[in-house]
Symmetry: C2
Subunit: 354 residues, 2 copies
Amino acid sequence: MLYSVIMAGGKGERFWPLSRGHKPKQLLALNSDKPLLVETIDRVSDLVPLDRTYVVAGEALAKPIAAAIPGLPPGRILTEPVGRNTCMAIGLAAAEIGARDPDAIMLVLSADHRIEPASRLREILAFGAELAAAEDRLVTIGITPTRAETGYGYIETGDIVARKGDLVASCVAGFKEKPEPRQAQVYYYGKKHLWNAGMFVWSVRSIWRALESYCPVHFTALSACRDHPGESVCREAAYQQVPDISIDFAVLEKASNVITIKADLVWDDVGSWLALDRLHERDRDGNVVKGTVLSLDTAETIVVNDEPGVVATLGVSDLVVVRSGAITFVAHKSRLGQIRNLVQKVSVEHPDLV
Amino acid sequence: MLYSVIMAGGKGERFWPLSRGHKPKQLLALNSDKPLLVETIDRVSDLVPLDRTYVVAGEALAKPIAAAIPGLPPGRILTEPVGRNTCMAIGLAAAEIGARDPDAIMLVLSADHRIEPASRLREILAFGAELAAAEDRLVTIGITPTRAETGYGYIETGDIVARKGDLVASCVAGFKEKPEPRQAQVYYYGKKHLWNAGMFVWSVRSIWRALESYCPVHFTALSACRDHPGESVCREAAYQQVPDISIDFAVLEKASNVITIKADLVWDDVGSWLALDRLHERDRDGNVVKGTVLSLDTAETIVVNDEPGVVATLGVSDLVVVRSGAITFVAHKSRLGQIRNLVQKVSVEHPDLV
């Protein structure tokens, strides 16, 4: 049977002040009028019913996630006592799903990305599920690049191993870190590299075997969880034992049975406020506006007003202006990389505002 | 006897959103922790008691002004049914004070300027009162320029007519409009021109005579007010009859008995948000901050947070950011000249926010 595992552990500091501790990015309606997490579940609902949908997140998010997905049966939110990166989050889901259905196939999805069109995504994931069920394979989804992006990791493709209709699966020749601009150009024009979107398809059996081979510490800790599904004491003990490591570093870069499906999807990791320029329609001056906003002589500016009243701008450009709760945030677009430093500073002086 | 007349009719749109219809600039504490109007009255309280202090303003401001000056006796707020500029406002005060005391000397002061030191101002005004009592003269106060300012009108001085201690009064050779930058340089370095600060000293008798000579329409309207002091029906009829004109155009540029006292005062008309850069201490990055504000990598920016919560800025410069009530305002300093256009736009779509 096919299961989906939604990775919803992100803190989303990069969307502060709209994102806060109790309402991180995946719970914000940044793309449509639905939270990104709900969009993620809706996209694959024709493949996977809610009963076989698992969401992995910190304990603090269990309630808001349950509220956002009213139909989710009990036990489908897998809470982590501490964040230990994707290797442990995926391993926990494999342990819990494996205890229920040892023959399960897992779709691993991120809770906070934009992906279109959903029908094409489902074709790709269904193909991945076939490949994962047929052999001991770890399937990654690689997005066809549409620009020489330096902000994403890349997957280098090798020989083609399978086809279905116009879909193609290839060996993975290697995983590449976020490149320098010149290298990104080489990747983009060479057409052999895909964006690593953090979407995976594999059987519980295959990922379990891979964890045993490449991450024995994680495997031992997770085995106890698999033997006692849903037991929080056991889960807490497991999380205490393991280091913080991503599934990419821990498994995918080491395993020889990794393949990738080339996915011609519109994909965005919604990584910062700047994503709104890509996700939303801009007015003729290049502004993106949400909520009640009045602008004069304003260009290339993102204004989000999440409150009653008005945000008024005059003679500014290239800014991000956000009004949310008791916080007003004004930043230059070019400095958004420092937003964590600002949030850190706020958390020291006003811990209630983070 | 000496009376003061405080001109408090300004709408102060240039301090929106802190200034609003019911709380214009003169009622804001922009310079110290007291409203500018209260500072104005306090500066001359050693010369003029509250009983002889009159405030001229629109009807809508009567209550907030009374609340700001608890000791002001009844009848000292002269409300105008409509704004008709300074000729009518001063004329109304002359009519009301003249009905009470035909020998009165009036100090005409603006409610929303910064002037320091107060002791020096009192010396200057006392000298003006002596000159106005001794002869039929209209005395203006001219500020010694400290820069080649293009935003103020100028008074050209002529021969010296009186001295007292180190104070000097001169004939006025002419009034000059706001100059172009080159002309402002000529005025500044020539040392014969003073800033026209809109402060005057004269007897009720002298200004009455001048109004009769140069503004017969105003004079007729105001005579009815003088015959029926405090009667609003009479005042409303008077204001319907007269055109909008300043005392400078209507009287001072025509009269031959105008003199000026050179005043070496720190003076600022607090004309826009930019005044805060002059009025307040700036941090080492050139920022002026009021209220709870957290800034990172921010320079030459004015941030006013009039609400609970925080205004956070990141990587910006040369901005004005104001949070007040349900309004957040973000402007580039260089575009503040357009603020009336923005307020106009807000007033159309959100009349409650202006």
